[in-house]
Point group: C3
């Protein structure tokens, strides 16, 4: 399948400069693009790559409109424009509607006739699967789960009983939604389990990366609002709420009952303790533990900088003595202050 550059621009609502008839069949990096491919520049510092590219066309921002003579689309947001061009050129493979012969679907489940249930999937009682949704191979959907339209579950996703999934969810392989939260109470030397009777409720347009886990609520629900994007290997504990359009990178852990605002961005392997409130538009660096609520939008970090191990050892040894170091400075300051005042009185 290919398109002329003019067709692509028209579908994306963007404008063309140069030869609009060049045929484009794929997107590619500036470095590897061929003459039937379109590439993009989002950062002017890569202009050298633009000069050397063999791409048939490029997507450029307004500021870079004259940076190339190639056939080009000029966009206010070249990265988003590229994303849309790629989606146009790489439509998802069609899935065959219907239930694979090997799947086990409870007779009380309501599967939309346009939906697709792949091999080895197991669908519980009372489940609803909406139009054009695809349940991948080996997925297990617990009783009474509600799944919206245009949902795509890759192979081996598990959704526990009673959870509610909006439209357009993409969940990658190994995702677990609705497992029990970590609720235990110590009683005479033994932990006893607190039943986790809340649900996970997921809004529309959410994506969840491979092997990410989202626990069901203890009493109330765990909630993932519209447009949230979660990378791989993330752990979302019970009763967390993640605000709309927040994006979280891989390996992050969010502890129980924490509320994260809208449009936040959380870096990889960061952590957020439980029962906190994070405001909207907060950016958290990778590898940072948030141990207190954040009430103000902005960027937050707490990373131990790396060095050569020998240098690190020299510095790290003082970390256990910062208080002492601070006290020694105080002593020096007092001594000097005394000297100065003695000197002052002597003069």
């Amino acid at each position: 399948m290919d398109y002329s550059l003019a067709e692509i621009a028209a579908r994306l609502g963007e404008r063309v400069m140069g030869d609009a008839e060049v045929r484009i069949s794929q997107v590619a990096t500036l470095e590897h693009a061929l003459s039937n491919q379109i590439s993009f520049l989002t950062n002017s510092k890569y202009r050298a790559q633009l000069d050397n590219t063999r791409a048939g066309a490029v997507i450029l921002g307004e500021a870079d409109a004259q940076a190339s003579n190639l056939p080009r689309i000029i966009s206010q947001n070249p990265y988003a424009c590229f994303a849309r061009a790629s989606a146009l050129l790489n439509p998802l493979p069609e899935s065959v509607p219907g239930v694979h012969g090997s799947a086990v679907v409870d007779e009380s489940a309501r599967i939309d006739p346009t939906a697709s249930i792949a091999a080895m999937a197991v669908i519980g009682a009372g489940v609803v699967v909406g139009a054009h949704s695809v349940i991948g191979a080996g997925c297990c959907i617990g009783d009474n789960v509600l799944i919206g339209c245009n949902v795509r579950l890759y192979p081996r996703v598990v959704i526990y009983y009673g959870c509610v999934i909006g439209d357009n969810l993409i969940a990658h392989s190994g995702v677990v939604i609705g497992s029990d939260g970590f609720g235990i109470a110590m009683d005479e030397g033994r932990w006893i389990k607190i039943p986790q009777i809340g649900r996970v409720v997921i809004g529309n347009d959410v994506e969840i990366g491979a092997n990410t886990t989202i626990d069901r609520g203890a009493l109330d629900d765990t909630v993932i609002e519209d447009g949230v994007k979660l990378d791989n290997q993330i752990q979302i504990a019970h009763n967390v709420r993640i605000g709309a359009h927040t994006a979280i990178a891989g390996c992050v852990g969010v502890a129980g009952s924490t509320t994260i605002g809208k449009y936040c961005q959380i870096g990889g392997s960061a952590g957020i303790l439980g029962h906190l409130k994070i405001a909207d538009h907060v950016v958290i660096s990778s590898f940072t533990l948030i141990g207190k609520s954040i009430r103000e939008a902005g960027s937050y970090a707490g990373i131990f900088p790396f060095s050569k191990t020998d240098d690190w050892k020299k510095s790290a040894v003082h970390l256990r003595h910062l208080d002492e170091m601070s006290n020694r400075i105080k002593v020096l300051e007092k001594l000097l202050l005394k000297q100065e005042s003695l000197k002052g009185s002597a003069e």
Copy 2:
């Protein structure tokens, strides 16, 4: 299903104050409870919520016995009492004994007639599954695995060959028990694999969260003692031993051959290096790396505090120069000492 407050208290061995005939069908938070629901207060600082609750009954500690006029259970351990009340009101769904037609069970496996093997499960040769155990959809149980009674494996748990599972294990979806430990030896520029021939041996009353992995031992076994509670996404390496009733929060990694004592509590995303010994009753903060053995009960931490990114940058830049900073203080101290002694001798 509902109970009178008197019935609930009687079953839990607790005492009632106020109207013991109120009917209760569910547990809920103080904030959301309705008149047929019971809530609880474990921390006096939430007394304001107690005043405003619409709950039909509450569970209170002795100290708070008079803090409400609602029908109430008074307990020495209100949180544990609430857990037991919730378990009473939320019994696990009954599972149908027997083997689902789609499951593949080796003919040499011995499945107790009261046990349940769900759809798509695969059970190897020589496996034993005890009374009332439930093997969820799509679970894979390797050859010669021994599974005790009342075990509940949620969908898609894998247990490798030869592992031994006690009674009452709860393992959530995506758990992997008995995968090979990370044993490699460098030989002439290539890593060669060290066969991992130990097992994983799990005691009674253990719970394991979603997508947690526990590697089999290299030579001897990896051991999880009775009553251990593991949250999601935890990695337990080969030959680790975790002492009875220790609880570990999500995303923790424990490296090989480390022994953790009994009744420890380990915070989320913490790490423990290999070949260490952690005493009983040790509490480790979230995000803390334990790099040496801990011989004494107590609380341990090592977290880099977060701040606004600009402030963090100002501080972090000094971390690579702490040794120099310490030396500069020493120089100042010597100088001042010299001055003082000169002054002393001059006087």
Copy 3:
């Protein structure tokens, strides 16, 4: 199955001291070995255990050749020698060639007749599985995946469409290869998805631990070179390249488009930010975040040392004031310098 010590040594190309006819059937630790088992000593500091072992034979380095009178193999690399002896004594169980009746294999897939496809596996269109490869129970292999020879996928591995797998891969349960990278672009208040059209390409002799995830490339491929060893719960983002014979411990996250050199060793729970270059032969400590490219071989660390929580609090409070602390030292130095120079001019 057992061997004489002479047979074992001959097969490994090593030499024997003492009684070469002792029969050996298994490897074991010095502490637990029995008279028909062989153990090993790789570190002279464990010589006391060597004195007390009941092993029938031991593997020793040249330097320890006289440290025991037991029948022994003397090796230049006793750990690798032990690994090879264990592999000899613990051959992998034979898998039955052919496709299990419950597996769903697309008719266009080409499965080598010596390969084994276990129960509940799902194999897509155009897949190729090489000689002697074993696809475990419940694995899902997407369309057009190419799998080499002697590959072993444990139960419930997922490989997305189009990925390429070399010979001898071992992938443990829960591994996901080829899931979408975390590619999103903000557009008028919403994240839009960037199709991930690259592949994952894995060389020969790679091992991947349980629940590790490797994302497919956004445009170009994610590449894992020959001999790479990945532990459990690792996250490899899109377009990462990991150099040959690099070993990565559990829970590490590597962000997008980073290139890691050959023969690197990365400790558990470490992190590497995106778009970085790590040289060959770099060693990174556990729990260390690498935030800049590393151009020089060597050992790098950035760990916050743990202490008792009370002591940690005393130190940690100063971390937010290091800049101020540094400035106070500067002030003291200036003051003293002034004093000294005044004194100098006064003398």
